[in-house]
């Protein structure tokens, strides 16, 4: 059974042509009334075409999955792996896909403009933020609406440490992460007993408190005007132009993302990761099975916050400027949307979620004023059609020692 038929592709092409036609006057033709010239922005046309084509295809895949799932539910109650997993599992697809993906990702700054690379860097940052929050929300099931607070802690610790003590980026990176983790524990303690919506409200309050402190305690944080002239990351003292610095930033983020994926993957697949999922599933049973609820929750908060802190430092270095306005509830909402949209508890899901939520608005500039609306619509649609997210986390299959030694044994059972 193929996932997308030729028919679907044709229809999506038609949709995208329509979109290009409709958006042509706004997106492509730009009249400059002063110089009396017309600028034709052909690249915009391409973006609109590609984006609408992909979006339409996505909706089709979605509907198709929906049908397939309904059928499957009737046929057999077993959990159904997602199409992405199907695709990745097949050796035939796996290697070409992985190789093509890595080549594009690695060569991105060389293939595209620095503006594009910059957007991509932002997307990578949100992937890491999503992966961090995914530990707290997706794995441990603790609904945290104040995640941005830790991001702010990271950003401000670099900004302030640099301002007062001239601390460099590379030293600030771990410090920012650890400070954020400390704040994670600080937040974790009072909310240990809270669950669900209560927890959500308290964490939301915590996020706002941090922002308000940064806004109002001018002596400490320079208030709403923020801190500027934060140095970009250095690379063994090499002088870099702005473009080069941006490219370096991209590769830096890529490296951090790779490390994050590696670590989160291992955490998921460990004694600790299983305890988080058990905690998410049933706190009382989890505790009755000998798991220290408080400790396990605190570790989740601390680790989640750690990555937010790291990205905070990188954010400060990337924009060379921080002010409290960058750390509003909207940021928490975006990161949470990434996790929910992608599929709670799944790394691939978070990557897809971040790419969709960060790149789509960037490439559909005219939509960006309706970003909030689009968010709402997407999330609501998600709740209705696919409450478990794009990609459902699958569980690992463990091998019993005897099975390892004799593969035949397993078939005999």
């Amino acid at each position: 059974m193929t996932m997308i038929s030729r028919q679907d592709v044709k229809r999506s092409l038609l949709v995208s042509l329509w979109f290009v036609f409709l958006s042509f006057p706004i997106m492509v033709i730009q009249v400059n009334p002063v110089e009396r010239t017309v600028v034709w922005r052909w690249s915009n046309m391409l973006t609109v075409a590609v984006a609408s084509f992909l979006l339409s295809l996505l909706v089709r895949v979605w509907l198709f999955r929906q049908e397939k799932r309904l059928v499957q539910v009737q046929l057999s109650p077993s959990p159904q792996p997602s199409i992405f997993h199907d695709l990745l599992k097949q050796q035939k697809f796996r290697y070409p896909l992985v190789i093509a993906g890595s080549v594009i990702v690695l060569a991105f700054p060389l293939l595209f403009s620095s503006y594009q690379a910059n957007i991509m860097t932002t997307a990578l940052m949100y992937i890491v933020l999503g992966l961090g929050l995914n530990i707290v929300v997706g794995l441990a099931g603790l609904l945290d609406l104040g995640y941005v607070a830790f991001y702010a802690v990271g950003a401000y610790s670099y900004a302030l440490l640099n301002l007062h003590f001239d601390l460099g980026f590379w030293a600030a990176l771990p410090v920012g992460g650890l400070l954020a983790a400390l704040f994670g524990v600080l937040l974790g303690f009072p909310v240990l007993r809270l669950r669900g919506d209560y927890l959500a409200i308290v964490t939301l309050g915590f996020g706002e408190i941090i922002r308000l402190i940064l806004e109002n305690w001018s002596a400490f944080s320079k208030g709403p005007s923020g801190i500027s002239n934060i140095p970009r990351p250095g690379f063994f003292g090499v002088e870099m132009s702005l473009d080069q610095a941006m490219t370096f930033m991209y590769y830096l983020m890529l490296g951090l993302l790779a490390a994050t994926i590696f670590v989160v993957n291992r955490l998921q697949d460990s004694r600790l990761g299983r305890a988080w999922v058990a905690l998410r599933e049933d706190e009382t049973a989890c505790q009755a099975m000998g798991i220290d609820k408080a400790g396990t929750k605190l570790i989740a908060f601390a680790l989640g916050a750690f990555w937010a802190g790291l990205i905070g430092v990188i954010f400060a270095a990337k924009t060379t400027f921080v002010n409290p306005a960058s750390f509003t509830f909207m940021e928490s909402a975006i990161i949470l949307s990434i996790v929910v949209l992608g599929g709670m508890g799944s790394i691939t899901g978070v990557i897809f979620g971040a790419l969709i939520l960060i790149l789509l608005p960037e490439y559909l500039r005219p939509l960006s004023e309706y970003r909030m609306l689009a968010f709402g619509a997407i999330l609501v649609a998600m709740m209705i059609f696919k409450p478990e997210g794009f990609i459902t986390g699958s569980r690992r299959v463990y091998r019993f020692q005897a099975q390892k030694n004799s593969p035949i044994l397993k078939d005999d059972e």
């Binding site: 299983r274 999922v277 609820k293 019993f400």
Partner: protein, 267 residues
């Protein structure tokens, strides 16, 4: 006489105005199967919740003694996970499995309190952690074999049949290496064949050296399986003794067994 591993003195539990447990005394010896019976709402589950630290009792003492080390612990105010670590594990009347985890993983969760690796171990996977993980998998798998669920090891726990879920609850509790196992209505919802298998399983668990304290409504199971029986009514202990003694106890027949027992005998 084997050593006393659980000793409960004057246990009382109030919920606001309701007294769910009233000065209850109970003990369990090593290697015993003890049954706790009583009509619906008698306070049996509440008793388990007090033992395992889910509720903090209003009054009374609970003393747990490890048969291996002889170490005695007063359970007052201990967290549920600490009590499990001491060697007393339970199942739930209203099944509480981790339904989004596989059957094997559910049992592996039980090994949590007997293993140590944390963040460092998870990320760097040193030899120690790898060995520990493999040991967890192997032990869990063996427990699944014991309860007859190894064929479904990789299925989601939520997909199991009702009877299998009850056995998985037992397997998960066994994985914590308890010397005392508390079973809350393990046969509820099982068909006669499954119940017979369960009786067999509980005997094997006892033979492996775990003492068992079980709540059950199925009288035939209780009478055939247990060494001693405690009877609870409105939070008070109204009788205790061997199954034979309980079967003829007037108070018990009046309060609880009543017609049930007469029916049982006439058939």
């Amino acid at each position: 006489m084997m050593s006393k591993i659980l000793e409960v003195n004057g246990l009382t539990m109030n919920f606001g105005g309701i007294r769910a447990l009233d000065h209850l005394d109970l003990d369990v010896h090593a290697g015993e199967i003890v049954a706790l019976i009583g009509p619906n709402g008698a306070g049996k589950t509440t008793f388990f919740n007090c033992l395992t630290g889910i509720y903090v009792p209003t009054e009374g003492e609970i003393r747990l003694t490890s048969p291996l080390t002889g170490k005695q612990t007063l359970l007052a105010g201990l967290k549920p996970n600490k009590i499990t670590e001491l060697g007393m594990a339970r199942t739930f009347q209203n099944i509480r499995l981790f339904s989004q985890m596989t059957v094997l993983e559910n049992v592996m969760i039980g090994r949590h309190c007997r293993t140590r690796s944390l963040i460092f171990g998870a990320i760097f996977r040193p030899r120690r952690t790898r060995d520990e993980e493999q040991d967890t998998v192997d032990r869990s798998y063996r427990i699944l074999e014991k309860v007859g669920l190894s064929a479904q090891a990789d299925e989601f726990a939520g997909k199991l049949s009702y009877g299998s879920q009850r056995r998985l609850e037992i397997a998960r509790a066994l994985a914590t290496d308890p010397f005392l196992l508390l079973l809350d209505e393990p046969a509820a919802g099982m068909n006669p064949q499954e119940t017979a298998d369960l009786v067999d399983l509980i005997r094997r668990i006892r033979d492996d050296g775990h003492a068992v304290l079980l709540i059950e409504h199925d009288m035939k199971l209780v009478m055939s399986l247990s060494d001693r029986v405690f009877v609870l009514d409105y939070g008070e202990k109204i009788a205790q003794g061997t199954p034979a003694e309980i079967g003829v106890n007037a108070a018990v027949i009046k309060a609880y067994l009543g017609e049930d027992m007469l029916d049982e005998e006439s058939t």
